[in-house]
């Protein structure tokens, strides 16, 4: 995924009316129809199913013990993963922009791998090294640590790709000014560089959080789906669908949808905040 999809979760286009590239109404109409069939109608169906059964029934389904446990676990684990990958992601971005070594280009390319590798393969692959027949004796299968591991793999590129362009464009003069004013390298990082990276870290982290909360394929093999212990929300929903318990599935899904939309809104706000000092 390019860093452009991560630049703004909600893109902000301006409109330039251009006579020559004007869209025939037919094209626009078909596009709207397409979006409706693929996205809008299904989403509406979800919301309808959620409120259709009544508000109380909805909340009861959400507050079912295993649902609550799954949601709590999901959010907690996702937050931990995001904080960890915010750190490692910034570190990786730093090394990729400021350092130089043989194979740097290859490393830069590989950072995109989690975007391209199917999630189920990620699960298989991680279990090889960190599962029950681990050659290094580390076994995280059927544990929360396993979930953290899978999510860290899946969310690795987000902060890296979000921070990289900002770091690349950062005015080196500011750092040199800080040095000329007496700031040692770490002080300069803390007071000058980091504040300017923070918006990018936050928006990359936000996207990582959304991905982690909803992640399914990479977690489903590793976690073992033990209710109240290693069952995340997405796996709970899947189980409910398979056992034809649609109401519970719908309720928890709506919670995830609301979380996703809220995170997207927050990311948008962060980006506005981040560009407030640009002239």
């Amino acid at each position: 995924m390019a860093s452009r999809p991560l630049d703004s979760a909600l893109p902000e286009p301006r409109s330039f009316a251009s006579p020559a590239a004007a869209l025939p109404g037919l094209a626009a109409g078909t596009a709207i129809l397409y979006l409706s069939l693929v996205v809008l109608i299904p989403l509406a169906a979800l919301l309808w199913a959620a409120v259709g059964g009544g508000w109380t029934e909805f909340w009861d389904a959400v507050r079912a013990p295993d649902a609550t446990a799954a949601l709590k676990l999901t959010v907690a684990v996702s937050l931990i993963v995001v904080v960890l990958n915010a750190f490692f992601g910034t570190l990786l971005a730093w090394v990729l922009v400021r350092d130089d070594f043989i194979g740097k280009n290859a490393v830069n390319t590989l950072v995109d791998l989690p975007f391209a590798l199917p999630t189920i393969v990620v699960g298989v692959v991680l279990l090889l090294l960190y599962g029950s027949s681990s050659p290094i004796g580390v076994d995280v299968s059927y544990s929360r640590a396993g979930i953290v591991l899978a999510l860290m793999f899946e969310t690795l590129p987000f902060v890296v790709r979000s921070v990289q362009p900002v770091l690349y464009e950062l005015d080196r003069d500011m750092e040199q000014a800080a040095a000329s004013l007496g700031a040692a390298p770490f002080t300069a990082f803390r007071r000058v560089i980091f504040p300017n990276l923070l918006p990018a870290i936050l928006s990359g982290g936000g996207l990582a959080l959304a991905k982690a909360i909803g992640e399914f394929g990479s977690v489903v093999l590793i976690s073992g789906n033990i209710p109240f212990q290693t069952q995340v929300a997405s796996v709970l929903i899947f189980g409910r669908i398979e056992s034809d318990n649609q109401d519970a599935a719908v309720a928890v899904s709506v919670v995830l949808l609301v979380l996703a939309l809220s995170i997207l809104m927050l990311i948008n706000l962060v980006q506005r905040w981040g560009t407030r000092h640009d002239h």
Partner: protein, 263 residues
């Protein structure tokens, strides 16, 4: 400077232990017992059917998402359409929404007891638990890539060229074909690469809508899961290697065609 080497070592070490070694091991494991078992797995009928199905779905979803992606991008950047924020939100959603929820939404809309369930049944069309459903699910999750790659390019090139074409007598379609499309082609290509990768690799959404009928609604990712849990680990590893190779090619193509963001 020790700091420089410490940073480099930590960053690369993290990447190695999380990414490189695990992915490298899949190749080792797949060929652990030689070429023959691997070959047996990839020539297995189920494997070939799954591969065919995966590619068929991609072959439908990618062109559709490309065409509509370009249209949507033009709509949002060049025109004042009502509901812009809504469309923007729709474009951002597939990045943030759980694939399982996507699948559920589709079932609720087009499943047997869904909104259109009765109408579809009467028309004899099966959506959920069959190919159209899987295509829909794949299209949902891979929807935004082309649009989001094309939009910044459209913004950057501006309308001047298109206006010049108009003054020279070019009509809408001609302008699009001869001026706009060539200008956005690298954005489109990059978007197509991302879309294809996502289509081939999607698991969660397709798992929910497919019903997992072996030989009919099983894509490659679904095959991997079934083989792994069914204790044909060798088969799972073989399929994983194939998917990983596709992913690596994708990532290489991404690097080659990446728009000049670090210019």
């Amino acid at each position: 400077m020790i700091t420089k080497y410490a940073l480099r070592f930590t960053a690369l070490g993290y990447l190695t232990m999380l990414l490189l070694v695990p992915v490298g091991m899949i190749a080792w494991k797949a060929f652990e017992n030689g070429w023959a078992p691997f070959w047996a797995s990839v020539t297995d009928p189920d494997f070939l059917t799954a591969l065919k199905l995966t590619l068929e779905i991609a072959l439908i979803a990618v062109p559709l998402n490309t065409v509509f992606g370009i249209i949507i991008a033009i709509m949002l950047v060049r025109h004042n359409v009502p509901g812009k924020s809504l469309i923007n939100a729709v474009l951002a959603l597939p990045f943030a929404l759980s694939p399982v929820v996507v699948g559920l939404c589709l079932i609720l809309a087009y499943g047997q007891s869904g909104w259109f369930g009765a109408d579809l049944a009467n028309a004899g069309i099966d959506v959920i638990f069959s190919m159209p459903g899987m295509v829909l699910a794949t299209m949902f999750v891979s929807l935004p890539f082309v649009a989001r790659e094309v939009m910044p390019v459209l913004r950057e090139i501006g309308t001047e060229q298109e206006q010049a074409a108009a003054t020279l007598g070019a009509g809408q379609w001609t302008t699009f074909r001869r001026v706009t499309l060539p200008a956005i082609r690298w954005g489109v290509i990059y978007g197509v690469i991302l879309t294809t990768a996502r289509c081939i690799g999607e698991y969660g959404a397709v798992a929910v809508v497919s019903g997992n009928v072996i030989g009919q609604t099983e894509t490659m990712p679904l095959l991997v899961k079934r083989l792994y849990e069914g204790f044909d680990k060798q088969g799972a590893y073989a399929a994983s290697v194939v998917l990983a190779l596709i992913a690596l090619s994708t990532v290489l193509l991404m690097t080659m065609f990446k728009p000049r963001q670090e210019a």
